[in-house]
Structures are given as structure tokens and as C-alpha cells.
Amino acid sequence: MNRQTLQADAPLSATAATPLLSVKDLAVRFATREGVVEAVNGVNFNLARGEVLGILGESGSGKSVSLRAIMGILPRGRTTVTGSINFDGHELLSMPEKELDRLRGPEIAMIFQEPMTALDPVFTVGEQIAETIVRHEGVDWSTANARAKNFLEMVRIPSPERRLQAYPHEMSGGMRQRAMIALALSCKPKLLLADEPTTALDVTVQIQIILLLRELQRELGMAVIFVTHDVGVASEISDAVAVMYGGRYMEHGPAENVLLAPNHPYTHGLMNSTVHGSMRGQRLDTIPGLPPDLANLPKGCPFAARCGHAIPECEQGGIALSAVGKNHFSACLRVEKEGRSFFA
């Protein structure tokens, strides 16, 4: 299957009339002293309204860079972004910065791994949330302050009245993360971009934040793209999961299919090398070797060098997602040619 047919039958959006977000041939290059780093290399996907997509990948797989490209916050100058990002009828890549500013916040919001860098240390949490509401909705400050308190209640911050007066450094990690979520949701965006928001948290706090995000996502009916390196976290939050490697989607489909019955050799390897359950005493089935150098990517499948199923053609190029099930896509040449998964 080629890319034309993929666009007509993109994952999980068959039921929705038009996708909220449609990303086509997204590529991101960074010019560095060591050469051109090819961080994202042709990513295609559609995201339906209210859908939660988990992007799973290891460091350097391009998952965070893709997210930042959608938000339009990659450093200008040394970065080249090509392809198309269509959000609710707007082409984001050709949009002037001023118009983008009107979308960022009310329509698309983002949360980060480290809230300390996302929140302004010299303003109280209340001031920051109220300011966002005033700026984007033009209401007066007292209305905005009341709304800010509601948002803190919504993210289950105890004694919100008092917390509005708190500075970010006066809060614990979990509370800061909640405050950042409140800030991001203060204008009820249609799309929330989440870049590893639970990675720095303790496990008992992480599950609280995941449950909170799931609840708010349903309540507000917003779509979410949730980037993580943790299979368990992706499994807890996602409707659909995309697995990235070497700047590409290796596999994309419903969470159950991708995580429980992976089709692509990389997804399979990743699941096997992730310690879980009672694997004690077993030898871990590891993926040999190292991830590819993004400044020197092979022409064909980026995983070919570490793949136990690779054939010479895998290194020739022309690797694209093809359908392997309902709304389930895999970018493996052998699966495409032989019409079967190795792991069924």
C-alpha cells in the first residue's frame, strides 16, 4: 500500500468525518556542527477529535521533536520543517507566527516533563492561569481569577484558594504538574500535546496524573498526543499507539493490537526487552546493537541493522506504512511482501 491509499484510510479516523489533525510527510532536520541531523523522516498520521494517541519511542526516536513541530516551538534558523500539518482546517507550517499565537493556548496546548521550566518562577500559579484566560478570552481579571480557582479544583489541588497564591517552587512535583495541566487546559483546547508529563514523577503520583488526564480528556472531549518511553504509561492512556524509531512510525494502530500483538519486529523487540510481570530468572531477549546515528541514517529501514528478520532489500529504501489489520499499520517490508506477521 502506498501513501495515497494510507491517507484515504488513516488510522482510527474512519468514523470521524474529518480528522482534527492531519500530518503528512512531516520531516525535521537540524543543522549542527557535526552535520545535518535527520530527527523526523516522513511521519504520516491522522488524529480524530477526542482521540488519545500515545507515541512510544526510545531517546532519539523523534517523538518529542514531532510534538514540538506540531506546536511550532522548534528553534528557528537551524531547523527545517517540511511536509504538512493540518489542524482543524489550518495549515500550521505556512501560518505566520502571529496567527499561530492565536491558536496556541485556546486551540492547542502543551504540557512538559519538567513543570518548573514551563511555569514562570516569579509569578504565582494563580496569576499565570488568570493571565492566560484574560489574554485569550478577553474577560476581566476577577472573572479570570474565579475561573483559575475552578481549574485548580478541576485538577484536584487541595485548598485551591491558598494554592493560587503559591509560587511554583513552593509546590511539590506532583502539585506543579497539576498546576501546569490547569494552565494548559485553562482555555479548553481541542488538542493537548503531552511530552512525557509523568516521567519525572514517583509511581504513586504518576498514576494519579494519568487518571486525572484521562478524566479531563473525556470531560473536555479533547484530543491528546501523549509522548512517552514507558510501555505501561502508553498502555494506560492511549486509544491508539504509534511506535517511533529513527524518526519514523514503525507501527501505528489501536493500543491493544500494537502492544499485545505487535506486528513490527522493532515493536516486538521493544516489548520483549521491557522487563515486566514475572520474568525473573529468564534471560531477557534483547535487541542487539545501538540505535542509528541520526546524522548518518541508512537509506532504507532504520531498524534493519538490528533486525533479526532483515533481508537485503530492507536497506534499499521505500519503507512506508502499510495496512496489516483494521486501522493497524506497520512499516515492515517483509510483512508487506509476505503478507504476514512473524509473531502471529
Binding site: 526510545e58 512535583g173 514517583d202 504513586t204 494506560e236 491493544e256 502492544l259
Partner: protein, 335 residues
Amino acid sequence: MTVADLRKHFPIKRNLLGRTLSAVQAVDDISFQVIKGETLGIVGESGCGKSTTARLLMRLIEPDAGVVTFDGNTVGGAHGVGVRDLYRDVQMVFQDSYASLNPRMPISMSIAYGPLSQGMNRKAAMAVAVKLLEQVGLNPVLYANRYPHELSGGQKQRVNIARALALRPRLVILDEAVSALDKSIEAQILNLLIDLKQEYDLTYVFISHDLNVIRFISDRVMVMYLGHIVEVGRVEDIYARPEHPYTKALLAAMPSMDPRKRTETAPITGDPPNPIDPPPGCRFRTRCPHAAQICEDRTPSLNDGAATGEGHLVACHMRDRRSGHPEARSSGASQ
């Protein structure tokens, strides 16, 4: 190795006379044993004192109180084993693989440094380094003369493991040694650690916040919360029959690997409290659904929660039927 009543408080505020007003009670009177040949996993959330414990075992910091005994000999003090001798038997691998290596030294030299400092001649020390590089999966011909910045995170951690083994220690303390690595690399390092343990007849103290990794590698598990040990026992017992409310919550908070069986409710609310001036009594009581008056009045000790099965100890008043806790019940194995 035996640890008795080990304590470390870090003062953060003193009055004019230099008396401590408040302190981080990082490790507060903990006692445990590391049995020869085992892997003891230490698990807990940030601020629970697991890394401070590791540093105390290595004497990287001096304890305020308590005694550490290695193989029958007291460590430190006027008559005890000195740090230099201790390091022949006990070595450590840290989380930050880059910061642990001298950036101006080729990695083979970093590995040979320990043996050299203990009086081995240069040729023999380099031979040790070459052999260890091979054993940790780095071809000495390609890697011996490289510098740390030329290696990936996983490769640097292999070097750190090789360096820790260069003095032929009997006990290796691994403090979040795989936590910074990607999953595919983490699996490679875990396999390597298991192989080396057999080959060199090692004992491991393996510290991690990752409950899956702890379950995979440990023989026994020690769960810590705010500077106290709350539960210790064989890995099967802890994961199949956790007794302490905190251990139960910790295990229930692990994300599900199956999208069809997602977590519905968070086992406990709130964040771990600040270890500065922690609450008196049981330190978990501020988040515990079973907290009662007795939990505030008296700190439960590991012995109060009588052993349930083979060396499974729990520090909870509910496990001691004489404690006066309303939900206390007698356990089959008590007395």
C-alpha cells in the same frame, strides 16, 4: 554485610549556637542484612533514603549512628576496617554513567586505576582492564583507548561495571544503574549483570525506583519510605502477598501493561511528604487509609510486624495484634 541502627540526618537549619533546628531525616535507624550471594533489591520513591543508604554502605558519607559490619569486621571507627580496605571488597555503580568516569582518561585507564592504586603493577593492571572490557562486551581493540565522550550511555555504563569489578570485589552496590538507559539497552545491561554475578560469585545491592526491574533481578526486596524500612522479604512474597499498606499501594500504582486492564482508581492520593521533620510515629500514616491513633503515638518497628513466612518482615501496627490498632490481626506465623 550487616547493618544495625544506621542513621543519617542532614541538618538544613541551625540556630546561633549551631544546634540543629531541622534536618532531613534521610535514613533513620535502619537495620538489615545483605546475605552472601544474593541480590538485595531496595525500592522506594524519591526521598525514601535508598541512595543515602547506598552511600552509607560505601562510606561515601559518615553515618550519625549505627554500625556496618562486613564479613564480621566493623567498618570505620578507630578499630574498624578502613575505607581503603573496604573498597577492595565493596564497589559501587552510579546512575550517571558519564559523571562517574574521568573525562580526561581513556576508559582502559579508568578501569586499571583501582588496581594501580592498590599497588598492582601497570602491566598487570592493564591486562585486568583488557580482560574486563571483553567481559562487559566492549572489544578492547576498538575501545581500550577511547574517552568517555566517545561512548553511548549504555557503553559507558558497561565501563563503569568493568571498573567496579577491577578490584575483584565481593559486594557491588548498583544505585539506579540502569535507570537512565533506554529499555533495549537496559535489558542488555541486566543480562550482563546476571552473567557477571555468576562468573565472579558476586553479591548485589540493587537500588531502583523501577518495580519491574527490582522484581526481575532481586532475590529479596526491601521497601523504604521516608528513611524507614517498611517491609522486607523474598521477592515472590513481596510481590504476591504484600503486607504493608505502602507496599500494596506502590505495587497497585504500577501502570498496567495491558490496555484492556487499565488502572481505575489511584491506590493512594497525594505526594510523598517532605523528609524534613517527618511526622512522628509511622511515617506513612499521613497517606495510609488504615491510620489510627496508635500509628501517631508509636513508630512500628520491623519486629512488631511479626515475621510472616521466611524472613518476611513488616513494620505495621496492623500486623501486631497486641499493638492496639483497631484493624490489628494475629498472623499465622507470629510468635
